[in-house]
């Protein structure tokens, strides 16, 4: 699904097909926020699809987000000591730069991205979202289970 398609779906969900209340750039920000949120979840759930492998010597890879497991390297800012080591790390989320760019999430997580973005819009409108919040969490967890992701392992880093 592309960013434009996601925004079109968001407008249907938010009842704003005529662009009266929400501008495109506002909705793009909500989608970006949602992608970041989902990505953070996937890191927490150690989703292997976002793991990369690289040989690190003195600087962190530019798309580094977190190590996978224990790594014998020390990091200060972007400087690494203890290399070179071939290690695995979680990459940062890919935020679409154009409307035609495809969202970098598996299809099963698309509803979760949509729900997160809808929540942002409804909160901005001032609507009560007490029930949508937990619901979105539940949907995400069931999707994670369906994707075969392990139970979150805190302290895995």
């Amino acid at each position: 699904m592309t960013l434009d398609e996601m925004i079109a779906r968001l407008r249907i969900r938010l009842n704003d097909k005529d662009e009266i209340e929400f501008s495109d750039s506002e909705l793009e920000d909500y989608v970006a926020d949602a992608l970041q949120q989902i990505h953070a979840m996937r890191i927490q759930l150690t989703d292997p699809r976002i793991i990369k492998s690289a040989t690190v010597t003195t600087t962190l890879p530019s798309d580094w987000a977190a190590w996978v497991g224990q790594v014998p390297l020390k990091v200060a800012g972007t400087t690494v000591t203890g290399g070179p080591q071939t290690v695995r790390y979680f990459a940062v989320a890919t935020i679409p730069s154009t409307g035609t760019a495809t969202l970098d999430v598996p299809d099963m997580l698309i509803p979760s991205v949509l729900n997160y973005a809808v929540l942002q819009g409804r909160i901005r409108l001032g609507l009560d979202v007490d029930q949508e919040g937990p619901l979105t969490q539940k949907i995400l967890q069931s999707v994670a289970t369906a994707l075969g992701l392990p139970v979150p392992q805190y302290g895995a880093r």
Partner: protein, 484 residues
């Protein structure tokens, strides 16, 4: 805030309905838009409020019935002879609809604003015309003069013709039953009489009107008198002081009352009620009085459009007239293609004639002589202390003729598609009842709706019709209260 609130147990932001379906208050210009009652309008240009007060309809257009080629100064529909008369350049003309030209009937005796009065027995009615010189009369073919002396105002009462001239406080009464008899004979009580009204009060007569069995006389110094009884048993009684009429054309006999414009108070009236003799600011004028009073100039005029059930007030030279609809008893205003010079609606005729510039118009169609006009209406403003979001906006309306119409609330726009409808109802036609498929009464024909979100604390719908005509029945706004 709302007339009705639909709330379900699981609905966390209950939806309220703002409904505008009663327009009986008309346009109210003397209160801020947010303090209006739900049935009042903050702006209504080129709209009529229908008899029941529940529907708004774009006014009818103006159709030119006469393009005279000369600047018209007055118009009179001489219904007994079925003639359309007008004055231009100091002459009286009769419009010939066959040749589309005006026939010159002769010169008027002076240059004052013509005032007309029908007189005579049925079948041989004549029209008395006062323009400031000798009173003239027109019998349907010939314009003739009398030796009345100067007459700017003409009026009939107690079987006499009564005239008054500018610069005079005298009312001059003709011989009984003779508009040409103006010689006083002290031995003949039926001969011409002169009655000064408000002797030495420092004012001149500018208007005379009937009020029940009396004659009400307006003077230019703010005095109002009534003449009670007939010669020789008559008396002049003071009614009020300080009623400054902006012009000689600003008083009107309406449904047994006398309405007049007053420079300070807008519209006032004299009524034949228990309060007879009192002059009060009428309830009818409350919606516009403050605005009217501020605009009244020496060119102010008030007209009774009998066939339309309306009163027009032109406060000053311009294209804007305030329109009183006496069915629902409320106001709107019109913007016309030019300054109306004169309007005449004969009591026995279904036509109203309006003189603007060189043309005489009547009502019909959906353009002003081919030019589209815009009708705009805004009900009151709903101003809420906390934010609401508009979730649904709906307008129920009848398209009457093809045109462009749209409704808006803030940023939300709703197109109102229109088309030509043959307005035909069972009660208004002559079809055989058993074979008549027309609806009994007008029912709404179209509904336009949009679902959008728009967050605001101020909600004011607006309907703008830039061409064609529609009838608005209901405006609905569904809103949800949200946290700020």
């Amino acid at each position: 805030m709302a007339l009705a609130e639909y709330s379900k147990v699981f609905e966390r932001n209950p939806t309220s309905l703002l409904e505008f379906g009663d327009f009986s208050g008309g346009e109210v210009l003397t209160k801020p838009p947010e303090t209006l009652m739900p049935n009042e309008l903050s702006y209504a240009e080129n709209w009529d409020v229908e008899e029941d007060g529940m529907k708004l309809v774009v006014r009818e257009g103006l159709v030119a019935v006469a393009a005279t080629g000369a600047t018209i100064t007055s118009v009179y529909h001489f219904a007994p002879k079925n003639q359309l008369l007008y004055t231009a350049g100091g002459h009286l003309y009769k419009w010939d609809s066959g040749t589309q030209a005006g026939a010159d009937l002769g010169a008027l005796s002076s240059t004052g604003t013509p005032r007309y009065q029908e007189w005579g027995v049925k079948g041989s009615e004549i029209l008395l015309i006062a323009t400031g010189g000798n009173l003239q009369h027109y019998d349907g073919t010939t314009l003739s003069a009398t030796t009345s002396g100067n007459a700017n105002v003409v009026f009939i009462a107690h079987s006499r013709v009564v005239i008054a001239a500018n610069g005079s406080a005298d009312t001059v009464w003709s011989d009984i039953g003779d508009h040409t008899g103006w010689t006083h004979d002290s031995g003949d009580p039926s001969s011409s009489q002169t009655l000064p009204v408000g002797y030495k009060d420092g004012g001149d007569i500018i208007a005379m009107l009937p009020l029940s069995k009396d004659v009400v006389v307006f003077k230019d110094n703010g005095m109002i008198y009534r003449i009670i009884g007939s010669s020789p048993d008559w008396s002049v009684v003071e009614v009020a002081r300080g009623a400054i009429l902006p012009s000689a054309d600003s008083a009107l006999a309406l449904a047994g009352d006398v309405w007049f414009l007053d420079r300070r108070d807008g519209i006032r009236s004299l009524a034949t009620t228990a309060a007879y003799g009192d002059v009060g600011v009428t309830g009818e004028g409350k919606a516009v009085n403050k605005i009217l009073a501020a605009q009244l100039a020496s060119s102010a005029k008030i007209w009774h459009l009998r066939s339309e059930g309306k009163v027009w007030v032109l406060p000053a030279a311009g294209t804007k007239v305030y329109v009183y609809h006496y069915g629902p008893a409320c106001w709107t205003h019109y913007s016309l293609p030019g300054t109306p010079v004169d309007v005449h609606s004969h009591p026995t005729s279904a036509e109203t004639y309006i003189a603007i510039g060189q043309k005489i118009y009547n009502f019909g169609g959906d353009t002003d002589d081919g030019a589209a006009y815009t009708a705009t209406v805004r009900p009151r403003v709903s101003r809420e202390p906390k934010p609401h979001i508009l979730v649904r906006f709906q307008v129920d309306y009848d398209p009457i003729t093809q045109g462009n119409a749209a409704a808006t609330v803030g940023s939300v726009t709703l197109a109102l598609p229109s088309s030509n409808w043959d307005e035909d109802y069972a009660y208004g036609d002559t079809d055989v009842a058993s074979a008549d498929t027309d609806p009994l009464v007008p029912e709404f024909r179209s509904s336009a709706m949009t679902r959008q979100v728009w967050r605001s604390t101020v909600f004011q719908p607006e309907i703008v019709v830039t061409s064609g005509r529609i009838r608005v029945r209901k405006i609905y706004l569904w809103v949800k209260g949200v946290s700020s």
